[in-house]
Symmetry: C2
Subunit: 105 residues, 2 copies
DNA sequence: CTGGATCCGCCACGATACTG
DNA sequence: CAGTATCGTGGCGGATCCAG
């Protein structure tokens, strides 16, 4: 992941893609299928969801489990690493609300 | 800041710009001048630093204090809001190290 | 149902040069 | 010293079509 940057930048690079963080929080609620995620994220395209899921998988944040059945069935869930970082996302969630609040003023 | 997204995305949008987060952490250490920041962030361009500083100022995260002297002197410091979110950045810092660790393996 | 492949527009970012 | 102006570039993200 690039050069000897600040770890914060590393973190952001893993999480910034479109709605990656939001995906993680949804998976924190439990295992989800592809279609369920699409419905939970109404403003994301197929292409972006699959791309983000693949990147999250490569980053070791989520597990991908495909069943060899017809029609296809794929389940996504958090890895241990995903569990470790989810509290950080939670605090970012709270932090984001601080900003939203001040925008209204 | 776009639509009714998840607050996490709001947070990321405020902080993602190249090395904005790193700037905040440096200012957490105390008031800094423009030139000091440039030296602390060796891989950032003038244009990016001034742009990020301006955005952070508009976001209410930092204060900009210019002195009408020659040569010019400008000091940057964190606002209360900047103080509030800095612990979140700290935890992102720790989270980033988790990723870096696993990259090596 | 779960994606991959392709094309394309837009914006963040980089490098350089210039100003009060 | 502390920026702004300008130009060029790469990659993110959207839309659409196709495949197993």
């Amino acid at each position: 992941m690039e050069k000897g940057y600040c770890p914060i930048d590393t973190f952001i690079n893993f999480v910034k893609g479109k709605r990656k963080a939001t995906i993680i929080l949804h998976l924190k609620q439990g295992t989800k299928r592809y279609k369920e995620l699409i419905q939970l994220l109404p403003d994301i395209s197929d292409r972006m969801l699959s791309k983000n899921l693949k990147e999250l998988e490569e980053a070791g944040i989520i597990n991908r489990k495909a069943y060899a059945v017809i029609p296809p069935k794929v389940e996504y869930s958090l890895t241990d690493l995903g569990d470790e970082i989810s509290p950080i996302l939670k605090s970012m969630f709270k932090g984001g609300r601080l900003f939203e609040k001040q925008i209204e003023e």
